[in-house]
């Protein structure tokens, strides 16, 4: 995927996790199962529709001010639900790099008044106010959507999520999705223990690229092979209980309440107003 230019110092190297910058599914599920605040009781459908609204808003909006406001609101929502803020900022790492990897290149040479200029032979780079604005706007939009997305995941119980997947996706995507969601936890544990075993015998430290690559390839190959075998066994276990093609998620998802309809309508109206009828300085 993407190169993550992380500092190589062991100080950052948290051994207990696969990577501290990737949201930990166990932790996410822990919050979604244990939470009790208001946002846990709102209908999951409401939260899903709000997600769509936010994505639309972020795609339509051109103003930095609006992006910052949206981000602030979402962050407050996240904080009010008692979700871990410190973790959230760790998890911003990858979205941040995603924005940077593209915009770091694109923000130069934007038309506008120059702030800073760098010139080397055959090459000149100028950072303009518009370039900077571009980067900041994208960054805040990105953080708003990431934060809401995690908020949604961390305030919605696993059985509701699975029932929603079952409703939304057509066969067989729903079946594959539902099963894979359960398998991910098992597979992650398996990969984690393999990596642990590697480290306990001195693997995982920077050695020759060739050895390192080979070692991880072996781990990945084993992950695939084990997943295959496990699929076989899980399938057997399901057939032993009469599985004949379709798995049904039985949970009833709470309906959208009248208040929730009203709030969504209000939010949508507000968004339309802000985007099309108000002009912001930037």
């Amino acid at each position: 995927m993407l190169l993550l230019f992380r500092r190589k110092s062991m100080g950052q190297y948290r051994m207990s996790e696969l990577s501290p910058h990737i949201p930990d599914l166990d932790l996410i599920t822990f919050y979604s199962e244990k939470g009790t605040s208001l946002f846990f009781r709102i209908s999951p459908w409401t939260k899903a529709i709000m997600l769509v609204l936010i994505i639309l808003f972020v795609s339509l909006d051109k103003s930095l001010i609006l992006a910052v406001c949206l981000y602030m609101i979402v962050l407050v929502l996240y904080g009010l639900s008692g979700l871990p803020i410190k973790k959230l900022f760790q998890w911003y790492m990858i979205p941040f790099l995603f924005v940077l990897s593209l915009v770091l290149i694109l923000m130069w040479n934007e038309p506008g008044s120059p702030i800073f200029s760098l010139s080397v032979p055959y090459f000149s780079l100028t950072l303009t106010d518009n370039g900077l604005l571009l980067m900041l706007t994208l960054l805040f939009k990105s953080f708003a959507s990431v934060t809401y997305s995690l908020f949604f995941l961390m305030t919605t119980r696993y059985n509701y999520l699975s029932a929603m997947i079952y409703r939304v996706f057509p066969f067989p995507i729903d079946q594959i999705f539902l099963m894979s969601y359960r398998f991910i936890f098992i597979t992650l544990k398996m990969v984690e223990s393999m990596i642990k075993a590697l480290r306990s015998r001195g693997g995982g430290l920077l050695k020759s690229a060739h050895r390192q690559g080979k070692m991880f390839a072996e781990v990945f190959a084993l992950t695939m092979i084990r997943s295959y075998d496990r699929a076989d066994r899980v399938n057997k276990a399901m057939e032993a209980r009469g599985f004949s093609g379709r798995y049904v998620a039985a949970t009833r998802i709470p309906r959208i309440g009248p208040g929730e309809y009203f709030s969504m309508l209000a939010v949508a109206t507000m968004m339309i107003y802000l985007i099309w009828f108000v002009r912001f300085p930037f």
């Binding site: 599920t29 059985n159 099963m179 359960r182 057939e239 032993a240 209980r241 039985a250």
Partner: protein
């Protein structure tokens, strides 16, 4: 008599068979062999029967074919040669609903729990049997209650402890009200307390629900405590079977099969050997041993 000779062993086995001839036969595996796709042999000329209301223990070393046999009992695997008859019906490709009669609890609980919540998982079997949602739910709750896990129903299976996972697996099978339940290594990985819980559930299933249980295990102490009949599995076939008290005192047989006698038997044999006296009783549980030894000390 220190050790039963082989011919005596066979004698006992036959005697035992005769005595159960009148009880109803639920499963009959008749000279079945199974070759895995990669050519390795799972079972070979395996003959095995399960009768009504009994606990049978399959004991054998790693790789002897216990799990392979168990997967034949409800049609997950089909024999390469030989026959399997369940509830009097020969198991062939047209017959696909044996899973209603024979439930299997697998060796690894993780392989068996796939639904998002415990309740969903336990309901999975009843729903497949075609009952309504409400009834499936009430059956699932009943099953969870029977294993003492009703308070887990909303939990995510991934977050349960090893012992709790095992209980939920058993509930999942129980909810389908099978006639026979086969359990593969039901207590490995469990701490003594959880193991005891599972042991009590097994006994309860037999005594109060009239379900026959097949357990595969290499814990001979467990087999000695709870089973009515022990089958020693080696290299894919059952080399001998009989009451625990007769099988487990045949030291040659047990060691030849790559096993070790249960602790209780080892101790009792050790004591009688040390004293040079003749065994009269054949205790196989700790209680029985105490009841055998204590009078000996008092008597003298």
């Amino acid at each position: 008599m220190m050790i039963l000779t082989n011919s005596q062993q066979i004698h006992i086995k036959h005697a035992w068979h005769a005595s159960t001839a009148d009880t109803k036969e639920l499963i009959h595996v008749d000279c079945a062999s199974h070759i895995y796709p990669d050519g390795s042999q799972g079972i070979h000329d395996m003959c095995f029967r399960v009768f009504e209301k009994e606990i049978v223990a399959l004991c054998g070393p790693n790789g002897s074919g216990k799990s392979t046999l168990i997967e034949h009992l409800n049609g997950l695997l089909r024999p390469s040669s030989g026959n399997v008859t369940v509830m009097g019906n020969k198991l062939d490709l047209s017959r696909v609903d044996i899973w209603k009669d024979v439930g299997v609890v697998f060796q690894r609980s993780d392989d068996q729990l796939f639904a998002p919540t415990v309740l969903d998982d336990v309901m999975f079997g009843p729903i497949n049997m075609g009952v309504s949602m409400e009834q499936a739910k009430s059956e699932a709750l009943g099953a969870l209650k029977a294993v003492g896990a009703e308070n887990l129903s909303d939990k995510m299976p991934g977050y349960l402890s090893g012992g709790q996972k095992r209980l939920v697996c058993i509930a999942g099978v129980l909810a389908m009200k099978p006639r026979v339940i086969a359990m593969d290594e039901p207590t490995s990985d469990l701490d003594p307390l959880h193991a005891e819980m599972v042991e009590n559930i097994i006994l309860n299933l037999k005594n109060n629900h009239g379900i026959s249980i097949v357990i595969a295990t290499h814990d001979l102490d467990l087999a000695a405590r709870i089973s009515d009949r022990v089958c020693i599995v080696k290299d894919g076939s059952i080399i001998t079977e009989g009451r625990p008290s007769s099988i487990f005192y045949d030291k040659n047989l047990i060691e030849m099969s790559g096993l070790r006698q249960p602790k209780v038997v080892q101790i009792y044999e050790g004591i009688t050997k040390n004293l040079g006296i003749v065994m009269e009783n054949y205790p196989i549980t700790a209680d029985e041993l105490v009841k055998t030894i204590a009078p000996m000390i008092r008597q003298h």
